[in-house]
Symmetry: C2
Subunit: 244 residues, 2 copies
């Protein structure tokens, strides 16, 4: 008899930013599957009775297939991601793997949303987002030209931006290119925040400007938040104009 698969977003980092539904799913699971650091993120919920499978980076398809396989064997499986699993997380891959299973053998599947890193970073700064866009800078799965096209179009709008996957060991120049694209339309003094490891003990938030932020200070786990044109410093906070 097929089991169950929870595709879980654990929130940005700390246990306190996890939802009750995510906590229950991981605790009730017979098997927990995920990229190692994300399994670590819910270590407080794991027990010796659970099968725990940690995998390495870049093995997303294997991870999705394995979670579906375990659920097909009758287990109750939690496949964990950081943040919201539907925002550059494991949900799309895992659902495709589950859909490939004939319906009669398909496990029950539930996607458990979480707090995404971009809005958690925004909360640390104050309330810098009005209307906003969420874009991944990774060109692992799409041509870089497509990423550029999105950012060029967004640069000409007044939307704030939360940029994910801004840099990797091999992708080091893209963020400077993004700065150039944005500067074609936006004020050099636009507030830009680099939020790294949000919700984790080594959390770091650096507030700077579009012209002067340090692209070399950005890690893969950084979210780059570009404020909209109406955002301003209000006391110690960065706050958007209401309604804009």
């Amino acid at each position: 008899m097929p089991g169950a698969l929870w595709i879980v977003g654990l929130g940005p980092g700390g246990a306190e930013d996890r939802t009750g539904r995510a906590t229950t799913a991981v605790r009730d699971a017979d098997a927990v599957v995920g990229y190692g650091p994300y399994v670590d993120q819910c270590a407080d919920l794991l027990s010796d009775a659970q099968l725990v499978e940690r995998s390495t980076m870049g093995r997303e398809e294997d991870r999705a297939a394995r979670a579906v396989e375990l659920a097909g064997e009758g287990r109750r499986v939690a496949l964990v991601s950081s943040g919201d699993t539907g925002i550059f997380g494991m949900a799309a891959l895992a659902l495709r793997a589950a859909a490939a299973v004939p319906e009669a053998q398909r496990p029950a599947v539930e996607v458990v949303p979480g707090v995404t890193a971009g809005t958690a970073a925004a909360a640390l700064l104050g309330a810098p987002l009005g209307d906003f866009a969420t874009v991944s800078l990774s060109d692992v799965l799409v041509p870089w030209e497509q990423v550029e096209a999105r950012l060029s179009a967004l640069a000409a709008t007044d939307l704030a931006l939360t940029l994910y996957n801004p840099r990797s060991r091999t992708r080091t120049w893209q963020l400077d290119r993004v700065r150039e694209l944005l500067l074609e339309h936006r004020d050099p003094e636009t507030s830009v925040a680099l939020a790294t490891d949000v919700g984790r003990p080594d959390q770091d938030v650096a507030l700077s400007t579009l012209a002067s932020f340090d692209a070399d200070a950005v890690a893969m786990r950084t979210v780059v938040l570009v404020a909209g044109p109406t955002a301003e410093r209000v006391g110690p906070w960065l706050v958007t104009a209401r309604g804009r």
Copy 2:
């Protein structure tokens, strides 16, 4: 001595989608302030020992001022919003009110992020978001022309959209105008979901297309999700292409 102010996002609806931090903030508060239905949303956390102030719609500035006032009197105050308080919630107004208090008298302030309705709706559908934009259709605080300009620019991109505040008693024609703007660039068969009261007992998700969705079935509490061009039906789910 000044107290504390937590500006809390309660998540989309049900208690299970609340974070631990939001739960703790409301439970530890001496005073809870919010729009009536949002206070109801955390009724399971309230006690007789707390001062609970429910307010009516459209009184956002009063609510923000009152929360800051109570915190200034030394209380520990939770100002609650649905979803993420930084996404068209109370955070910007409340921080402005707090910043107006001289620093020595200013309460400690913490913004507590939550799961926003758009990604919770996405999770109910599957994984329809890749890169995406979050836009409010309300023209209460900005001219409608500005809202149109954003949507026209976004229509020409391949971003998915989560549209908030799509309709009110007095704003009934805007969503049809949005459809027109999107159809200038996007396929009429683009998947559109209307997600109403996400996470609440009367939750309703209707999947349709850009050409044919029923704008009259949309309520103020509906999130309209417009999938990107690569999203497709995969088994029972709506799933974006990986990386797109």
